[in-house]
Symmetry: C2
Subunit: 160 residues, 2 copies
């Protein structure tokens, strides 16, 4: 419980810091660059974490198997709950829905701060992308919020 808030507080500080340092003029371009900074940090962390988590895991059957691993094992380890719903079109797109996403519960359960939500999701999008990347899967990960603190992560796998 406790070191969960340790991570959450640090995450909020980091978001605030990155925004403060990059958004002098607060225009859209710089906003984008803060998001991508956070996404990049998440990416590297995701790579590191997945290495630890999978070291005793037998290899995966297919992409779906990998995504299921993220939804269950990784999510429980990181956020102490599973993804609530996983959907796929079986063509490389996966939608992971978390009805009570830990990094959003801290600051809102209404629509009021919806605009702020992307800031608090970029890091996690990066983490998912980093985890997949280290398992050999290139992807694009985005997040979407309709009512806080619920949130959907969309993973689109890139075929080369």
């Amino acid at each position: 419980m406790a070191d969960k808030s340790l991570f959450e507080f640090l995450h909020m500080e980091m978001v605030a810091y990155v925004y403060k340092h990059q958004n002098g003029d607060n225009n859209n371009q710089e906003r984008g660059s803060s998001l991508s900074t956070l996404e990049g940090m998440g990416f590297r962390v995701g790579q590191g974490l997945i290495e630890r988590f999978t070291k005793d895991t037998p290899s995966f059957k297919d992409d779906l198997d990998v995504v299921k691993f993220l939804c269950k094992d990784l999510w429980i380890n990181l956020f102490r709950k599973q993804i609530d719903n996983l959907r796929t079109n079986h063509q490389g797109t996966y939608v992971l829905q978390d009805n009570k996403f830990s990094l959003l519960t801290q600051f809102s359960n209404s629509k009021q701060y919806m605009e702020e939500a992307p800031k608090y999701l970029a890091y996690t999008c990066g983490m998912v992308r980093g985890a997949l990347s280290n398992l050999g899967i290139d992807s694009v990960v985005t997040a979407e919020v309709s009512v806080m603190p619920a949130c959907k992560f969309q993973v689109v796998i890139q075929r080369s």
Copy 2:
């Protein structure tokens, strides 16, 4: 275990980011400012954490009682171990020794990277200072490493 590394990885990313963005010239003045940025983040996090941790705790007898609480309850919650040794001169100076400090174990158990150690301690110093501050105690907190990953935090209470 797992969300421990979640925090540790994020902490390392944050240290790297703060240093990258503030140390264009890498001179001593800017180095100092990165340290104080990290310390400030830790300070705010410490304030937040201690509020949570102490909400069901009866009030403290004296400063020593508070410091003991940090060494035991707070440290276990944050770093999954207690402070190994606590010393005091009974005049407001406390030395908290952690023989295996979690944020140092990740990258070294030798003398090689000693110069880098302060970067990874500033945040924690701030956290301790923030926790004490929210309990009404002004302090100066510094850290010292002689052999990694052991580390001593010195707390000097400021009487006004």
